[in-house]
Symmetry: C2
Subunit: 445 residues, 2 copies
């Protein structure tokens, strides 16, 4: 019998704010970070790696929360845990004292994501399969048992979910073969960060087209005249046929979003992403009605499946951008994919940050194989940075994610990266905090 012998949670932070990578109208100085969970067993060859994505300060809060959430795993039997990952998830989430701190949102939910991501990574490793294939090899009933359908029955029943999955079961193998040839289509955000110069933006957009991308994304929302200028440059470079997406990162109220997007309509964006508060279902619905045919996209801050249920029910979005490290791993993500299928909304997962691309490739590939069965209007985010820290980094060619083949969820970071960027004691941070003072928030008042 193999047992969980150790839970380690590492606060790891990359100093991305120094290069303005990741700068947008809301997040001006993100240091891409992770609360990174390592589960060890008494079998030295079997580990599990998972994380939630953060942007600097407060990563330690998620680390503490993940330690608490993972505590009941210590000493548990690995086969019992992994043979019933639906039951394991429900047992972890049943802690009513921790539930009070959400429920199912914020730091506690990020921590749940990190822990369950590590368990799913371990399950795929134990099976000797990449995560997408572990899932693609499961029959419909098993997948639905894993999915967290609590609070969803007014939108999707268990029987409906099984029915949706069963229809595509006979043809899964065809789509696997297709993706192994073509990869899964993606788009790039690497060109459009708000902190980049015009020249850098032009160069990166040209490089994106040359690399095979047909979709590019710009950050907007800080200054309308600047946005008009930058969108004009982008359309000049990419031409009329490639897709331009714009992303406001939640800076607007609803009426302001409608006005601002209207002023950018001439550049024919495919979607406006995060036009307002991620919690505002009815606000997104109002914006969508007003800015059509421009689509509305949101989800990277979509806190849980109940929010997504309502976004679908209210016809509030055209594109669902769920986040692999904010939703509580496969159990909750699967529920969102199933609802998206029923409501006919394409899922284009959020990625970027650190490690999110490594995770979402598995999700999109599985979605095509077993849930949606289509690539129409689907395109998954890709941002080309920080992949060098991963043992099994994602590979993008001709604007598509290549299908991963190594066992696991591609979440493992190099030990050397952890030694360097662990906060505050890794070699990178220790050198800087010693000589320059700890990086802290500016004082108030």
């Amino acid at each position: 019998m193999t047992k969980i012998t150790d839970v380690e949670v590492v606060d790891v932070r990359f100093p991305t704010s120094l290069s303005a990578d990741g700068s947008d109208a809301m997040n001006k100085d993100a240091d891409y970070s992770a609360a990174y969970v390592i589960l060890r067993t008494d079998d030295p060859s079997l580990t599990g790696h998972g994380f939630t994505f953060t942007i600097g300060r407060g990563t330690d809060i998620c680390v503490l929360a993940a330690r608490h959430r993972a505590e009941p795993l210590l000493g548990a039997d690995v086969d019992e845990l992994l043979d019933d990952l639906g039951g394991t998830y429900r047992a972890l989430k049943a802690d009513s004292q921790l539930r009070w701190l959400g429920p199912e949102k914020g730091v506690e939910h990020l921590a749940m994501a990190a822990v369950m991501n590590a368990l799913w990574d371990m399950a795929a490793r134990r099976a000797g399969k990449p995560l997408w294939r572990l899932l693609a090899d499961m029959p419909a009933e098993q997948l639905v048992d894993i999915a967290d359908l609590q609070y969803l029955s007014d939108a999707l029943t268990r029987d409906e979910a099984i029915g949706l999955l069963r229809k595509l079961e006979p043809t899964r193998a065809e789509r696997i073969a297709e993706l192994e040839r073509t990869g899964y289509p993606c788009y790039t955000t690497s060109a459009g960060w708000l902190g980049y110069s015009d020249e850098k933006m032009r160069r990166l957009l040209r490089e994106a087209l040359d690399a095979g991308y047909r979709h590019v994304k710009l950050k907007v929302g800080a200054d309308l005249q600047e946005d008009i200028r930058r969108c004009r440059i982008a359309r000049e470079v990419i031409g009329p046929d490639a897709h331009l997406m714009i992303d406001a990162n939640q800076v607007w109220d609803v009426p302001q979003a409608i006005d601002w997007v209207g002023a950018l309509a001439e550049f024919k964006p495919l979607w406006i992403e995060e036009p307002t508060s991620p919690d505002d279902v009815l606000g997104h619905a109002a914006i969508r009605r007003a800015v059509a045919p421009i689509g509305v996209a949101t989800g990277e801050h979509g806190m849980n499946r109940v929010l997504f249920k309502q976004l679908f029910q209210a016809n509030a979005i055209d594109f669902c951008q769920l986040d692999s490290a904010r939703l509580a791993s496969i159990n909750e993500i699967l529920a969102v994919y199933l609802m998206a299928k029923k409501f006919g909304i394409p899922v284009c997962p959020h990625a970027g940050g650190v490690g999110l691309c490594e995770l979402v490739q598995h999700l999109s590939i599985f979605d095509y194989i077993a849930v949606s069965g289509t690539l129409e209007n689907r395109v998954t985010e890709f941002v080309d940075h920080l992949h060098e820290h991963f043992v099994d980094p994602c590979i993008v060619e001709n604007g598509a994610y290549r299908v991963p083949t190594a066992p696991g969820y591609s979440a493992e970071m190099h030990e050397e990266s952890l030694r360097e960027y662990a906060y505050p004691d890794g070699t990178y941070w220790a050198a800087r905090t010693r000589f320059r003072g700890v990086r802290t928030q500016a004082a108030v008042g």
Copy 2:
């Protein structure tokens, strides 16, 4: 110039699970707790006390988050902070790295509530007034400057908010005089916890009627036949005219809520509280349509003002039960009260736990004086436990909160209580963890 010299955050936990106080269908073993913030200044007579309410495990996570959130206050000038509590709030919430961990929800938001509650307590002490009077002495424009209206302008504009408050300004003094005579009406939950025996419930219900209450609340949702039996007993004891409320603490899906409440309709509950996920605006609206004339109440887990905006916009609730330690203190609570006024929804704040009654009395009193101007359909929760730990405990007589008179927000706990119940090193917990092992979550698998 007076400066903030020290921020202390204490993890304090009371062993309420031992007596089944606070037991409901979702929360079976709550140990009422707080992440308790003490702000000290170089004036020994000027401090600020505030907290967020938790129920045991994970309080340490909120403590860590509150320490981070309060860090920029250290060394700040007290007059600058307190003369512009709108600006102070916005400066604290502007930290985009911490924002990522919510935004404005979960642990980070609870921590923001604790810190801002302490600042509001300090502001009232500095003014030598109870908090409700500090607010009732502010003109309409100042109150609206303090309120956090971000993301709300599709429901309530700044000008509308000022207009609502101005109408009642000339008559504030009359309502103050009235409340000083009568107190603010409340109801009791003390009788109806799920873990209590029938005999104890009967006795407590009779005592509640004798003490002047006209509203009592029962917990439901664990077992339908039990609920029918307990509701029947309650109606027998309180008669046909007193109000019975029922509270399911989020245990149902939407269709199940509709069926279950239908089966209890014969007992004519005034409201069903928390019938489903607190995030489910559209679900509450569906339940409300189905169970009318029984009212729908929710809000103790209402994560932020954007959720309440939608509950109002969607006609989802009959009673708004905002929480004084989950919303980000007066700045956000004021925004919810203003929206409730515009939409005509009575606010009946959640209380109980530890210290929540001490806080909400200020809110309800201020609401009547300056925002709603009416007591119709208003009744504020009261639970009679743990008040002995507070320096200025709330006083309830004849089913009404007496108007507090001491300067501050009534949030200060006795130093002796902190010494005894600080976790894990207070005298109470140190004795128990030494001999009985640490109280931890049950293992999984």
